[in-house]
Symmetry: C2
Subunit: 240 residues, 2 copies
């Protein structure tokens, strides 16, 4: 039983993906190594993943600010890849390799608590990612990790990137729900702050090792409706 | 094994929903009766469902022609309901009843062959509805009938209704696939003709009783890549 009345009316849960559900860092490091090591590269693969991720917010900011039109995250990931590759002295990769490398982000593994928790949560709630990743990326992650989403929301249906309000509101509208009937679930307080400003309920989960040991949020640094130590704990706190 | 080379490159199957996957006629008749009979109405419930469906194409044509802006099918269903209700001498229903009645289209049952066939097809293909129904309707039908879609495409992500090309092409683009890597599956030759004109592969399935006994298409009346007696037969012919 959920006793908090602000939570009891929630009918849908929207999930941040990178970091919240997926361990992008060790996955991108692994996938990059699988592709580049046979070509003779010996790199610090975790640093490689971190360098790629460091271009993430600046790349999206060009869209959010209106400097460039909306593009799928795959397109931004490719631009970002080309920006940081020279710093690792990786040059002249064939186009097919560049394309395959860019799809490392489609081959992420979930944190271990996620698949089981999503099965539990789906018994009571509509569940959907609300990610800055494009739809095809969401589909590939779901197939790989055996997620059974009700729908795939996020930047591509909104035409903008989080934390812009449109992304959260487009997800609510697609399900014919008011914002207060939806909860955004994320490991990042900034995401939850923006969702709350749009009227959504918010659920925080700790991912203390997202960017490496003891680098992630161990708890929310903004007010939230509910907080869990991981997604399984959040499911338990939601009574499922 | 699929020996037809035009089919062997297919990676995604898009499905028409009303009639192809769902028995809308007996479902809408049942749901309407469940709501209206306790209010004292004794109607020909199948005729009631048929009358509602008869408003379907004219309602969408107003959007396709540009006469009115795009609306979710739920909105058109409601307008259509208000148009034909007086012919059944049903008047003055409270707003809550009207709203519930309109959601009859969210409570359709699939033809019996569909759930099992979709499970088989998902093992090899990305599967998604490409329907004129809105996303929330697709979500509700999937939850009710235990479909596990990879994504939900169709009119709402395209901003127009089939058979306009944009609806088919938006689904291909969302999966980063070329049209020839996608197959539209439908029980309606008109839908398949339009999909083929956009470059998609096409699969027909027979639904001979869609509008009542011996009213539906028993086979395609346009050239298609593959045809099945039902979705299970189509899955078998696709080798899954």
């Amino acid at each position: 039983m959920v006793e908090n009345p602000s939570i009891s009316q929630v009918q849908a849960l929207f999930f941040d993906v990178f970091g919240t559900l997926m361990d992008w860092r060790t996955s991108v490091a692994r996938e990059s190594r699988l592709i580049l090591e046979p070509l003779g590269y010996q790199l610090d693969w975790l640093a490689f993943a971190d360098a790629w991720r460091n271009e993430y917010q600046p790349g999206m900011e060009e869209v959010r600010s209106g400097k460039i039109p909306f593009s799928k995250l795959d397109v931004l990931h490719r631009r970002n890849l080309e920006r940081f590759l020279p710093r690792f002295n990786v040059t002249g990769l064939p186009e097919a390799v560049m394309r395959d490398l860019n799809l490392a982000w489609h081959r992420l593994d979930a944190w271990p608590d996620v698949p089981g928790a999503l099965i539990r949560l789906k018994t009571r709630y509509r569940i959907a990612p609300c990610s800055n990743g494009n739809i095809s990326l969401g589909v590939d992650l779901a197939r790989r990790n055996k997620f059974s989403w009700d729908a795939i929301f996020g930047s591509e249906i909104a035409g903008d990137f989080k934390p812009k309000p449109r992304v959260y509101l487009a997800a609510c509208e697609a399900l014919d729900l008011a914002p207060e009937q939806c909860m955004m679930v994320a490991a990042h307080s900034r995401d939850l702050k923006s969702a709350a400003e749009c009227g959504l309920r918010t659920g925080h989960i700790a991912r203390p090792h997202e960017f490496g040991p003891n680098t992630g949020e161990t708890g929310p640094i903004v007010p939230v409706d509910i907080a869990g130590s991981d997604l399984a704990d959040l499911a338990t706190k939601l009574g499922v």
